[in-house]
């Protein structure tokens, strides 16, 4: 079949080369067992590092999650039950001046390098995160208030972590499930360290973990190759995974349809509709923890300094139409600040589209003739895969019927964030994803002015809300915590500067042969659970 195999290793004349050139186009690649390789296509251009203590980009987190193990972990979409990871058990004690968390490591876990995972690797990894000060290090340093030296190895299989009493041990445990808590082989990292970088350069493009896969190769902008880690405790069903960068949605669809990729992430709503009718494919809707919201600036001098006006805005947006129409059902209408899937989510949706009521509120506030203001929106894609300018235009049309006349200004996301952070906006269409799968990832930034996050950006100063958020973060009793979040969500729903619109879902197209695929709301994909039928 292959005419020119006889030239292998030998000298080939010019004419033969020409033949090879011509023929090469028409022969398919060698047939191989494609059930042993999984190809995942999508836009992975945000990938800049695979170092677990540094990585903070969607693609990077998704991959690193398959290379490293954490002490504790969540499974699937359940973010309320912690499960054992490298640690087979753990306990939280209330010390006199600190929280004391003790983790017992399971014996016999091995890194891809062959070394056993021990307490000193855990200590090294945690100290490493604090020393490298990567984009996710604030999770350890600020949220958990973990200090250098606070993690100790009591024996090769026992790790103790001490946290200040002002920190929430629940949040810390949730943070530990994230890649920053991934345990690296300390010897391998130190052996490859350059100038005190804790192996940062090395681990950005090599792996030294105990996860089900190890990194074989990363061709930037092109593909990432993972292979089963022979030492791993958890054996993957498919030994080789390839992540292929495909940015253009039309091309992605072509690649899925021709079988060049098994999983396609980033398809347009039309492509998804077409796939739904085709028996060779299926569509999975992955939940996210993202919220798409409108926020008004309460700063003195802003048109929205008057609370009557925020109230008017709440009655002037038609989230139902937005979700069913523009978003094609790829989202859930939500109005409170904790997304579905996290403890403390409050499903209440008291505000319906009622332009007359909004108009009355405007009149009561002294704007019988209506109000004109600027609405900032990104030029990029909003939650649910729809361009933000389209979402803004829909909101503009809804609000106009209530006398709220928005002038839309669309700008690059980075520029929008600049204006938003400088409190120079009047109304903004923005998105938020919690930094870690715990309600406090939303509660504090949204309600505590002093946290200098969203509440601060919108000049929302509410001591009661801030106090509730702090109290809930430190509460260790699940039911008590839930009750506190109930109070907080109700309060911010009515008095905060936010109009939460929806929680998007992420649709992903798959070949029907692919089984066991799941993408959880923190964007992690347990690739080792995926299998493929012939």
């Amino acid at each position: 079949m292959y005419l020119y195999t006889k030239y292998e290793g030998g000298e080939a004349g010019m004419r033969h080369w020409l033949w090879i050139l011509v023929l090469s186009a028409f022969f398919p690649a060698l047939a191989q067992d494609r059930t042993q390789i999984l190809v995942y296509g999508g836009d992975f251009t945000d990938l800049i590092t695979l170092d677990p203590q540094i990585v903070y980009e969607f693609s990077g987190v998704m991959i690193a999650d398959n290379l490293y193990e954490t002490l504790v972990r969540f499974e699937g979409n359940d973010f309320s039950t912690l499960r054992p990871g490298l640690a087979e058990s753990w306990k939280v004690d209330r010390g006199t001046d600190a929280w004391i968390l003790t983790f017992k490591l399971r014996r016999g876990s091995r890194f891809s390098t062959g070394r056993e995972v021990t307490a000193k690797d855990v200590v090294f990894s945690f100290e490493r995160a604090l020393a490298l000060k990567g984009p996710s290090s604030f999770l350890f340093a600020n949220i958990a208030q973990l200090k250098p030296g606070a993690t100790r190895a009591l024996d090769p299989y026992t790790v103790e972590v001490r946290l200040p009493k002002t920190a929430s041990p629940q949040s810390f445990l949730a943070i530990l499930t994230f890649t920053i808590g991934g345990v690296v082989d300390s010897e391998e990292a130190q052996r490859n360290a350059k100038g005190g970088d804790f192996g940062r350069d090395f681990l950005s493009q090599n792996s030294a973990g105990s996860g089900p896969y190890r990194l074989v190769r990363w061709d930037r902008g092109s593909q990432v190759l993972l292979e089963a880690n022979p030492q791993a405790r958890v054996k993957p069903k498919i030994p080789r995974v390839i992540l292929r960068y495909i940015q253009e949605p039309a091309v992605l669809r072509t690649a899925l349809e021709s079988g060049e990729v098994d999983i396609a992430e980033g398809l347009t709503p039309e492509a998804l509709r077409a796939l739904t009718g085709n028996p060779r494919f299926k569509v999975v809707r992955a939940d996210t923890l993202r919220l798409q919201y409108l926020a008004v600036n309460m700063k003195e001098g802003s048109p929205f300094a008057n609370p009557k006006l925020w109230e008017a805005v709440r009655w002037a947006v038609n989230a139902d139409e937005l979700v069913q129409g523009l978003l094609q059902g790829n989202a859930t209408k939500i109005q409170t600040l904790i997304p579905k899937g996290l403890l403390g989510h409050n499903p209440t949706t008291p505000y319906k589209y009622d332009p007359d009521r909004a108009r009355r509120l405007l009149a009561e506030a002294g704007y019988a003739q209506g109000l004109e203001f600027e609405l900032l929106a990104s030029t990029g894609i909003c939650g649910g895969g729809v361009p933000c300018p389209d979402v803004a235009a829909k909101l503009q049309a809804d609000m106009a019927k209530a006398g709220l006349r928005a002038r839309i200004r669309t700008i690059a996301t980075a520029e929008l964030l600049n204006i938003y952070r400088a409190q120079n906006h009047q109304m903004v269409l923005a998105g938020w994803s919690p930094d870690f799968p715990d309600p406090d990832g939303n509660a504090t930034p949204w309600s505590d002015f002093d946290a200098r996050s969203l509440a601060w950006r919108n000049s929302y100063r509410d001591n009661v809300a801030a106090q509730l958020a702090r109290q809930a973060a430190l509460e260790t009793g699940v039911e008590k915590r839930r009750a506190l979040y109930r109070l907080l969500t109700e309060r911010v729903l009515r008095e905060g500067p936010y109009v939460v619109l929806y929680q998007p879902a992420q649709p992903i197209g798959l070949s029907v042969k692919v089984e066991g695929f799941l993408k959880n709301p923190m964007m992690s994909v347990p690739l080792w659970q995926v299998s493929k039928q012939p």
Binding site: Y2, Y4, T5, E8, G9, I20, L21, L23, S24, A25, F26, F27, A29, L30, Q32, R34, I37, V39, T45, I48, T49, K133, P135, F138, N142, S204, R217, D219, R220, G221, S222, Q223, L225, I242, R244, Y245, I246, Q247, E248, A250, V251, T254, E257, S258, E260, V261, A412, T413, A414, E415, L417, N418, R421, G431, W432, S433, D435, P445, R452, S453
Partner: protein
């Protein structure tokens, strides 16, 4: 000659300096904060300050520029704000893909444009000429993204004749990286399935990228050939009874090639500067995609590195073209 060369090389240096100054100024006009662009919506104030300190963004602009130049003279292009890697490393990673695609597209342009132009000139105003001119008009005016998606859909998805986007079948193991050009690396590794696939995957993007150049080249060659073919010495050549092949290729083409050469230099330069659309549609990890991503996050060390690289390549290509003039036309001498 040596003096001329030195003078021209000094000129390349000057162009490089000019490029850095302009790029630096432009980066200041854009109202985006690179720290915010790199760190995203949840970034804290402390993180932003730390980022500015680490990359020297808190220094006054002239100081930043001076530091940049100082490093540049030590051949250090700085660190990318987005990938946190030395820009030179990033360029080493992305440039070979562009080079591979550009060379293939250049070959396509030559292989299609040159014979078509000659043929059209020889059959002026007859069906072959009209066909070439019509095709050149069509190919030259079809938007790249349209042509790309059309051909991918037809030749890959519908007919299955050619492979899809990307540089290599994902089910094949990529050859060890030597030059960074997958087809060449596969050849060096004597990995025939990979070589075959890599070549097959070059066909569509190279055609799409080279089509407009081929069209331009065909028209240029046709015009230049028509001009030369009407001259006295060609009539003499015909009169001497020389064969068509000898007259056209031996006498006419050489003299018609001077204006064509100028065009070729520009074409290759253009192809090398990275083709954003072609690279995006064919998932080709080249300079074009690298620089668009860098630009949107205002990663100016990266943007500067690419601009500088492309600027220097352009200047050097121009120099090569000028030197080739002397080779082709004995009347041209550089003192």
């Amino acid at each position: 000659m040596a003096a001329y060369l030195l003078q021209r090389l000094a000129y390349v240096l000057l162009v490089g300096l000019g490029i850095t100054a302009v790029t630096f100024l432009v980066s200041q006009v854009i109202p985006i904060d690179p720290a915010v662009a790199a760190l995203g919506e949840n970034a804290r104030e402390e993180q932003i300050q730390e980022f500015r300190r680490r990359y020297g963004l808190d220094e006054p602009l002239p100081v930043q520029y001076a530091i940049y130049l100082q490093r540049l003279f030590q051949l250090d292009l700085g660190r990318s704000l987005r990938t946190n890697r030395p820009v030179a490393e990033d360029l080493k990673e992305f440039f070979p893909a562009t080079l591979e695609l550009a060379l293939a597209a250049f070959l396509v342009a030559l292989a299609l444009g040159l014979p078509a132009g000659i043929w059209a000139a020889l059959r002026q105003n007859r069906p072959p000429d009209l066909t070439v001119r019509l095709l050149a008009l069509l190919l030259g005016s079809t938007p790249v993204f349209f042509l790309a998606i059309l051909l991918l859909d037809l030749l890959h998805r519908q007919l299955g004749l050619l492979p899809g986007p990307g540089r290599l079948d994902p089910f094949l193991f990529p050859p060890p990286r030597v030059t960074g050009m997958v087809s060449l690396d596969a050849l060096l590794a004597r990995d025939w399935p990979a070589f075959r696939d890599a070549l097959a995957r070059l066909i569509l993007p190279a055609f799409v990228l080279g089509a407009a150049s081929a069209a331009l080249l065909a028209r240029m060659v046709r015009a230049a050939m028509l001009d030369v073919l009407s001259q006295d010495y060609i009539r003499t050549a015909w009169a001497k009874g020389l064969s068509e092949r000898w007259v056209v290729l031996g006498h006419a083409l050489k003299n018609a090639s001077l204006p064509v050469l100028t065009l070729l230099g520009g074409l290759l330069g253009g192809l090398l500067s990275g083709a954003v659309l072609t690279e995006t549609i064919f998932s080709w990890p080249g300079l074009g995609r690298y620089v668009t991503q860098s630009a949107t996050s205002l990663d100016f060390p990266a943007v500067m590195g690419v601009t500088l690289l492309v600027g220097v390549i352009y200047s050097l290509l121009n120099l090569v073209v000028d030197l080739l003039y002397a080779l082709l036309d004995p009347r041209i001498r550089y003192a």
